[in-house]
Symmetry: C2
Subunit: 349 residues, 2 copies
C-alpha cells in the first residue's frame, strides 16, 4: 500500500464536505498557492469565519453567528489534521474554544458538561432534539477516531437529532482536549461508560434507549464499548475495525499513532496500538444489534469483517459492504449516513 | 461575451451544491461517460433516489423518505435544465410530482395551496417555521428565475425558516407547472400580489411582515412586485437586474427565453423579453428596504446597478457587489445566502 501525499490524505472531499466545510473553501484549498501550507490556509479561513461570527453576533444574528463559529472550529480541525509540528496544540485548543462559543447558538444547542474518570475531567457536549416531547428521548454517544474529536460530528449529529435522537460527544484518550492528559490507551470503553453513567441520570434521556456510534477508530471503540457495557442497546461501527495490522498502516497514519500515543518511535507506537486496539477478546460479549459499514475501497482490509464475524458470535450483526465506498464511505454522499441514522432510530425506537 | 459550453452552463458547482445536490453526484456528473447526456444522467439519479425514498417510506423512515423524494425532484430540475427537446415536459411534470410527494415529509412540511389569477390556478407551497410561537410570523415570498421553479429553493427556504420566517413559493408565468398555460408575460407582479392576498388571510402570518426574495430573473420580478405592491415590506434582488440587453445574452439563454416565451424565433423572444422585463417604469414606486446582491464576475452587467440607482430613487437600497462573485454569487459558498437571510430577518422583525 503506497502512502498518499499529504494533500491527498487531507483532500478527502467527501469527508470534508459531508462534515460541513463549504465546497467553495475546499476547492480554494485545492487550488491555493504552492507556498501556502494546509495549516496556514485553514487557519486563515478560521480567522475569516471567526470575524464573520463576531459581526453577526454583534448585530444580533445568533443563528449565523453560531454557524460561523462552528465553521471556524471545523476549519481549525482540518488545519491541525495530520499536522505534527509545535503549532498543532494551539490550533487544537482554538478549535475547542471556538466550538464552545458556538455551542449555545447551535440549533439545537450543545450543552457542555464534564465527567470524571480517575483524576481527569472528560469534556462532553449533549444536544437534545428540539421537539422532544414530554417523554424521555433516545440518545447516541458518538465516538471520534484517530485525528478526530467531539467538535467534528455536528453534521451527523443533526441527522440523528432530526430523527428524535439526542447526541452526546466527548474526547477520550488520545483525542482532542484529553490528549494533553491522556494518551491512546486500552481502556477507552471506561470513558464511554462513565459518560453513560452521567447521561442516564438526565431525566430527558431514556436509559433503556442509549446506543453508541463510532467512526473509523471510533468504530473500533464503539465495538469495545458495546461489548463491555450491556446498557448500550445498539452499536454502529462506521468504517471501523477489530484489530490494526501495523504493517499495513501508511506513513501518515503511523505518524498519527505516534502522536496520539505520545511516543517518538514506531516501535513504541506499534506496541501501544496493538495492545490498545485488539478488540477480539471482548467481542464475544457483544449482544446488542450492531451495524458495521465498510467500503470495499477502504485501506482498512475487508478481512476485518471475517474477524468480526469470527469473534462477535453472540451479536445480531448487520454488515454493509459498499463496493465503491472508500474509508467510511465518505465518497458516496449522504446515503450511507442517512441509512445509519435510520437504522439507529429504528433500534432505539 | 462567449457562450459557455452546455456542460459548463450546467456545472455551476456552487449552485448545484448549495441548492442541495450531493457533491458525490455532481462529481459523478462531471466524469460521466461521453455518451451519456445530462438529461439521462440526472433522470437516472432521480430514479435511484425515488427508489430509495420508496424503500425508506415503506420502512417507516419518513425523514429520509422525504429527503430522497426532494432530491429526486431536484435531480429532475437539473435534468430538464436548459434542455429543449420533447422530453422536457415529462421531466418537468415528474419534478413537480416528486416534490409534492416529498412535501408532507419535509421538516417543516410544505403545504400545497392554489390561487386563481384570471382563469388559471397558480400552484403554491407554504412552509411555516416549526417553532412558530402563538403569534403570527413573518413570511417571505420566493420567486424563481428563468429555468427555475417553486421546487428548487428548499435549501434557501431552510435558512429563512431557521430564522423564524415562513416561506411561500409558486410558479409564475413562464415557470414550471404554469408554463403549459402561461408564457413569460409583463405582469408577473400580478401573480405575486394574488399569492400575497391569500397569504395574509392566513392567521399564522403577520400581514405587516411579508417580504419578497427573487433570484436571477426572479430578482427582476422581486423589484417589480415590491414596486407595485406596497404591502411588501422588504425586497431582495439576488443576482437580479432591471432590464435585459438582448445582444449580451448567450446562446443558451436565448434558447431559454424562446422556450419560456413559447415562440420559435429570436425576434419574437426579444420583443417579448424587452416588453416584459423592463422594470424602469415602476421603480420610482419602490419604497421598501431593498437588498441588491451582485457578483462582479456575473455575465449580467455591473451597469444594472447604475440603472437601479437612477430609477429606484425612493427606496432604501443596500447594494452589495462581491468582487469575486459569479452569477448570484453561487461560487462564494454559503456566506452571501446567510447574509441575505439575516438582512431579511432584521427587516421583517
Amino acid at each position: 500500500m503506497s502512502a498518499p501525499t499529504f494533500d491527498a490524505a487531507m483532500l478527502n472531499w467527501g469527508r470534508l464536505i459531508l462534515d460541513g466545510l463549504p465546497f467553495a473553501d475546499v476547492r480554494e484549498a485545492e487550488t491555493r498557492e504552492a507556498g501556502e501550507t494546509w495549516l496556514d490556509f485553514w487557519t486563515a479561513k478560521a480567522d475569516q469565519y471567526e470575524s464573520m461570527a463576531e459581526q453577526a453576533l454583534a448585530a444580533g444574528h445568533t443563528v449565523s453567528g453560531g454557524e460561523w463559529l462552528w465553521l471556524a472550529s471545523l476549519c481549525c480541525q482540518y488545519a491541525q489534521f495530520l499536522w505534527f509540528d509545535e503549532r498543532r496544540k494551539g490550533v487544537q485548543r482554538r478549535k475547542a474554544s471556538l466550538y464552545a462559543r458556538a455551542a449555545p447558538h447551535l440549533r439545537p444547542p450543545a450543552r457542555p458538561f464534564s465527567v470524571s474518570v480517575g483524576l481527569v475531567d472528560v469534556p462532553c457536549f449533549l444536544r437534545l432534539p428540539e421537539h422532544a416531547a414530554d417523554e424521555p428521548v433516545a440518545c447516541a454517544i458518538l465516538l471520534g477516531g484517530l485525528e478526530s474529536t467531539k467538535e467534528e460530528s455536528y453534521a451527523f449529529e443533526n441527522l440523528l437529532l432530526d430523527r428524535g435522537i439526542a447526541t452526546c460527544t466527548f474526547d477520550g484518550p488520545g483525542q482532542g482536549e484529553l490528549l494533553e492528559k491522556v494518551a491512546l490507551s486500552p481502556d477507552f470503553e471506561r470513558y464511554t461508560s462513565a459518560v453513560l453513567d452521567r447521561l442516564i441520570e438526565n431525566d430527558a434521556i431514556d436509559p433503556a434507549r442509549v446506543g453508541v456510534v463510532g467512526r473509523s477508530l471510533g468504530g473500533c471503540y464503539a465495538l469495545r464499548s458495546a461489548s463491555t457495557d450491556e446498557r448500550l442497546k445498539a452499536c454502529i461501527s462506521w468504517g471501523g475495525f477489530v484489530t490494526v495490522d501495523w504493517n499495513a498502516e501508511p506513513a501518515h497514519d503511523r505518524a498519527s499513532w505516534r502522536y496520539v500515543s505520545k511516543v517518538t518511535t514506531d516501535e513504541e507506537a506499534r506496541a501501544r496500538v496493538e495492545k490498545s486496539l485488539d478488540t477480539r477478546p471482548v467481542l464475544g460479549q457483544l449482544r446488542c444489534p450492531t451495524y458495521f459499514l465498510h467500503g470495499a475501497l477502504d485501506e482498512v482490509p475487508l478481512g476485518q469483517i471475517d474477524v468480526l464475524r469470527e469473534f462477535a458470535v453472540n451479536a445480531d450483526l448487520t454488515v454493509i459492504v459498499e463496493p465503491h465506498g472508500d474509508h467510511c464511505c465518505h465518497n458516496l454522499g449522504p446515503a450511507p449516513r442517512l441509512r445509519m441514522a435510520d437504522w439507529l432510530a429504528e433500534r432505539l425506537s
